[in-house]
Amino acid sequence: MNESDQATAAEPRHEDLVDERLVRWYFLAALLYLGVSMTGGLLMALQLVHWNPLNGIEIFSPGRWRFIHTNAVAYGFLANAFLGMLHWTVPRLTLHRVGSVKLSYFIFGAWQVIVLSTAAAFIVGPTLQAQPWVANLTASLQIPFSLGAQGIEWGETPFWIDPVALLGLVLVGVNFMVPIAKAKGPLYVTLWYFMAMFVWTPLTYAMGNFLPEYMVPGVNAGAVGGLFIHDLVGLFVTPLGWGMMYYIVPILLKKPIWSHGLSLVGFWGLAFFYPLQGIHHFLYTPIPMFLQYHAVISTIAVEFVVATVVINFIGTLWGDGRMIVTNLPLRWFYTGMIYYFITCFQCALQVTLTFQKLIHFTDWVVGHAHLVMFGVFSMWIFGFMTYLFPRLLNRPWYSRNLCEWHFWLSASGVFIMFLDLGLAGVFQGYYWAALFPWDVSVNGSQPFWVVRVFAGLMMFGGFLCFVYNLWKTYRGYAPAAATAPAPAVAPA
């Protein structure tokens, strides 16, 4: 931030730094996949309440669409949105262009191919699985040869796409490390998070997608798989999210982050404790118990780190609290942050072995996942998009009201879903432990699952408001340029 605040006429102009078209493309791709993902989520939700309109149609198998649901979110929505965000933030923070704009466009194209072919493989792969040549290859090479999903949660990307995706992630890192390497002077917090993420993400991806598939069997694969799901959230999504927060919040509030020391604690605490926790996804499995204890303890430790980060941001906001009401992007960011604190606090409780007995395997966990993925990171992205689209399109939002609707539907929808599923989880846990027949737990969950459908529809409705608003802003709105202040290099 400091660097860009001191921008002088001699320093590069915004147009030379940021390729706005690319940012736009990334954001649009992200929104497209978010829509697809939500459709998949709705399909699964409808299946559970017996309302699935597409019952018995092979390509709409809810199981296959559940893969689409989670993967489209991770690799379609979050990855694209964050790449767009990186293309805006990194050049502006470092005052250097990305390594190669051509490479950026190539990565953009390649990434969409990866996401789309993954989706296609989920849908048709299992159908083609019964070909004799597949069986022969499996038997002769002794590797699991699945044309469809691979058996790692969130790493379902078919094994033949994995190497390409990994290469893509490495190229992303290289492309952005060029401007960072050129930047002189102390680096801003945002860049710590981004730099670490450029290292972590390819490492995580390689670990999770190759080791359990080819090298380690059984319980060890479970340990590595747990580490993978965990690192994907913690070392890919989280650093991008926090990096973005450290960038944007001081810009919106027009003042620096409250405490640099706490920023340091936050970053290094996260980097140290977060990856140690992988096994907490598989507590009470046959994974050795002392490793499980260690995962539990470091999980609880990281909640203290999270608390310092949250305190730091509250400290930054202090005195300007009213801006949350008036400034929409800021409201997205701080609401997301409150949700983040709730999720992490919940995490410190649910990770204990006492809670695990009850809530593991239940909808409690699903509620937790939605609060963190949608309530936090997606909401931050929406905030960033709400802030950036007027600048990218050079005109203000078509309708502030629709922006408000987007916010309220999303923020309340996801919170209702979270409360609802959390409660459902407690019920399910007790039904199971009480040894009721299985249908009792399934039927007892019905009311909660119905509420979940409607909460999901609220989130979907918010999303539609946003898309419609964007479309109107882009198309129908009088393209009288310069209604919004044209972005200068110094962030307004």
Binding site: G63, P212, G218, V224, L227, P275, Y284
Partner: protein, 215 residues
């Protein structure tokens, strides 16, 4: 160091990642390194062969087109394919495959899971699962007969009107009495789960095919 590029890239980026991998990955690998990994052929056992042969008697035409004779090699093939179907259809997002030592799970499902049970090709990647919409399946073998599974996969609501489990009619040629290759393989896979344990449910008494030809 804490704000320098080198510190962030190498200490936080590589260093802490590797440290975590040591704890979460390498230690269990070292601990279990003496447990050999079995192939699909090696995990075929007499109980599973019983079910596999039963499939060949019950659905002779479908079985012959799909697997030919009920030999052990073919059974291993069926296991592999069945596992792939289980994977590709996302069964593992609704069914777990481990029994925990808590919450009365051993009363409901059977013996608590042991590491050795997972040291085989069919658990690469391991199918622990993270969610139970339906029950745990790791002790499923022998609990239901093959034709029960066929009808259940074709349309779960036929057997349990309240079941939210999806239908899988594409594992059949239009009728639950005609499972196709994927269907037979999936049934074999499900019958395999838990068949290696000492305690086996024996819900349906195993019968000797040689003497009971009217099956």
């Amino acid at each position: 160091m804490f704000e320098s590029k080198g510190g962030v890239l190498f200490l936080a980026g590589v260093g802490f990642f590797v440290l975590a991998f040591l704890f979460n990955g390498v230690i269990p690998m070292l601990m279990f390194r003496d447990m050999p990994e079995q192939t699909a052929e090696q995990v075929v056992n007499p109980r599973l062969m019983y079910q596999f042969t039963e499939l060949s008697r019950r659905y002779p035409e479908s079985f012959r087109t799909a697997f030919g004779e009920p030999t052990e090699e073919n059974c291993a093939q069926a296991l592999r394919l069945g596992r792939q179907v289980y994977l590709g259809e996302g069964c593992w997002h609704c069914h777990s495959q481990f029994v925990r030592p808590v919450s009365n799970e051993s009363l409901r499902f059977g013996e608590v899971s042991q590491p050795i049970e997972y040291q085989n090709e069919l658990q690469r990647p391991v199918m622990f699962g993270t969610r139970r919409v339906g029950p745990d399946l790791s002790r499923q073998g022998g609990r239901h007969a093959n034709d029960w599974h066929a009808v259940h996969f074709f349309r779960p609501k036929t057997l349990l009107p309240d079941s939210p489990m999806p239908e899988y009619p594409w594992l059949f040629e239009g009728d639950p009495s005609k499972p196709n290759q994927r269907g037979l393989a999936l049934i074999t896979y499900v019958q395999w789960l838990g068949s290696w344990l000492d305690s086996y449910p024996y819900y349906e008494e195993l019968q000797d095919f040689e003497r009971e030809d009217d099956l």
